[in-house]
Symmetry: C2
Subunit: 123 residues, 2 copies
Amino acid sequence: MTQTNRLNATFAALADPTRRAILARLARGQAGVLELAKPFSMSQPAISKHLIVLERAGLISRGRDRQRRPRRLSPKPLAEATNWLERYREFWEGNFQRLDALLDEMKVQEKTRRRKNVRRKQQ
Amino acid sequence: MTQTNRLNATFAALADPTRRAILARLARGQAGVLELAKPFSMSQPAISKHLIVLERAGLISRGRDRQRRPRRLSPKPLAEATNWLERYREFWEGNFQRLDALLDEMKVQEKTRRRKNVRRKQQ
DNA sequence: TCATTATATAACCATTTGGTTGTACAACCT
DNA sequence: AGGTTGTACAACCAAATGGTTATATAATGA
């Protein structure tokens, strides 16, 4: 699977609160399907479907212990998703005060309408 | 909108490669719909739909400049998504040796509960 | 062997998603 | 006023999503 497709699958998997809760649970250790289903008011097959989504994204893997097939967290897709988002950290982490200031500047320029702007535009 | 719902909408928005590319483009500055549509082999309405998804997630906002309605990046949802993922950094960044230790501990507990073999498999 | 436990699978359903084409509307320019 | 440009909206469609119930399969334990 390509990196793009893994990102697609990972973000899609993370878009559901039930699945995020399952990941949070698994971060504290592996767990079987019934145990994972317990906190939720939905059927076991519904949880199994969520687990399939998580598994196809590579976010979890399946072990075996007697009749149980305990799931556990896999690191890689979380790392990739985080790395993708990291490229935007600089943007949202305060450097966008600069951005806001710049945008205000642009408004003022537009309002006074004097000289052609300096192509600082592009924020 | 609740934080959970924002996370739902944000991750769902990020799950599409077209939308991720749009965000990457907007990280370099605001842009109108047609300009955003240009790199893709899909119709303008299709892009507009993607923009609606991004907007409902709060990832972008709409400005106005003559006939254009330029979009620009909004920081907050990216910050929230990143922060959610940060909780797993420790896990995937190598410190999950600790996690493995924890899992081994749990196995031992299980073993004492019902004494049978150790089941190292776990694929 | 038989019942129990844990999980998987199938069939079904409503809703959402991601695209299309066609058209409407709004702002701008002559 | 009329044409052009930029965007939005409506109707439609196929496929995917998220849930259900019912049933099948697998491993264990008695």
